[in-house]
């Protein structure tokens, strides 16, 4: 599998899902349980990605400059600082720690 294969298959899948919403009979996901699972799925995947992106290094779990950067990011999101600003500050915190510690 090349990078292009991954990109093409994943793009086809996500685009098919978007079109699918307009094609499936109305009411299927309007029911409570499927709608709730779809909603929570997004939350679970994003939370898992945060954990892996913050602590993972291949198959190891490490605590490094990313941890304080993410804690600062959480504080800024809580203060309603805009997305792009928070992302840049998080990068600067990690870069700064790596440069000076």
């Amino acid at each position: 599998m090349t990078t292009w294969h991954v990109i093409l298959i994943a793009s086809a899948a996500t685009l098919a899902l978007k079109l699918g919403g307009y094609l499936v009979p109305a009411g299927l996901l309007e029911r409570e349980r499927p709608a709730r699972i779809a909603d929570l799925l997004t939350v679970a995947l994003l939370a898992a990605l945060i954990a892996v992106q913050t602590l993972g290094a291949g198959q190891a779990i490490v605590f490094d400059a990313r941890v304080p950067a993410v804690i600062v990011a959480a504080a800024l999101f809580a203060l309603r600082v805009p997305f792009l600003v928070v992302v840049i500050v998080a990068a600067l915190v990690a870069a700064g720690i790596r440069a000076f510690v």
Partner: protein, 234 residues
């Protein structure tokens, strides 16, 4: 607000759409830079923003590839697809409003069915405003997101050693930013904590990419039995 005249209504929709559109498009810069940092080239990065065009899945795809490489390709595809499932729900909500006109217009509507276009449409009080909000927001984001992706990819390309610039931490912060607005209910918060724990605990024993998919099971279990639903975050 029920009897506001058409011109104020139009201004409100325009303000909502352009405001949300520009704010969202701005973080295409971070996607572009992170994608190049993950090893994709500028063309591949721009292709994702043009065709996939759903931020969560795009960030996830390059995030999993960054940690697991091509060996995690299958997990990257699965994670991106699972994150795209919410667009099915949005499509079903938007269908009565925007599924009209020729085939090209209907495909275009599905293409721009994302968090923000759906949210702006649902925030309007009548169908005409909702339709305008959906299209305006979708188009502003589509144009902006693709331009900023290109800019970000070129910046990422120029940065070189991405770890020294803290781009790995920026990726974690980006996921946190996508998650934050979804944490209003207690149930969502509980799922987030449990999923993060499962992903962390399984990282040493599973191939890169798989821990995220295993953590998705938390959502299926909690959602199926509707656990943690009585209490709400104060």
């Amino acid at each position: 607000m029920e009897e506001r005249d058409t011109s104020t209504g139009r201004t409100t929709v325009l303000r909502d759409s352009v405001g949300v559109g520009l704010a969202t498009a701005a973080y295409g810069i971070s996607f572009g830079a992170l994608s190049v940092a993950a090893g994709l080239d500028v063309w591949q990065t721009c292709f994702l923003s043009l065709v996939m065009f759903t931020g969560g899945s795009q960030f996830a795809l390059v995030g999993v590839l960054a940690s697991g490489g091509l060996a995690a390709g299958g997990s990257a595809i699965a994670t991106a697809a699972l994150l795209g499932i919410r667009n099915v729900v949005y499509g079903m909500r938007m269908k009565p409003l925007v599924d009209r006109g020729g085939l090209a217009q209907r495909i275009a509507a599905a293409w721009i069915t994302i968090d923000e276009s759906t949210a702006v449409a649902l925030a309007q009080t009548d169908d005409r405003a909702a339709r305008r909000g959906f299209w305006l927001t979708g188009i502003v984001i589509f144009v902006g997101w693709n331009l900023t992706t290109l800019a970000g990819a070129l910046i990422g390309d120029a940065l070189g050693d991405t770890r020294a610039w803290g781009l790995d931490a920026a990726a974690a912060a980006a996921f946190l930013g996508l998650l934050w607005p979804r944490l209003k209910r207690f149930q969502a918060g509980a799922v987030a904590v449990a999923a993060a724990l499962v992903a962390t605990l399984t990282t040493p024993v599973l191939m890169p990419g798989l821990p995220v998919l295993v953590a998705a099971l938390v959502a299926v279990v909690v959602g199926w039995f509707d656990l943690f639903s009585r209490r709400s975050a104060s």
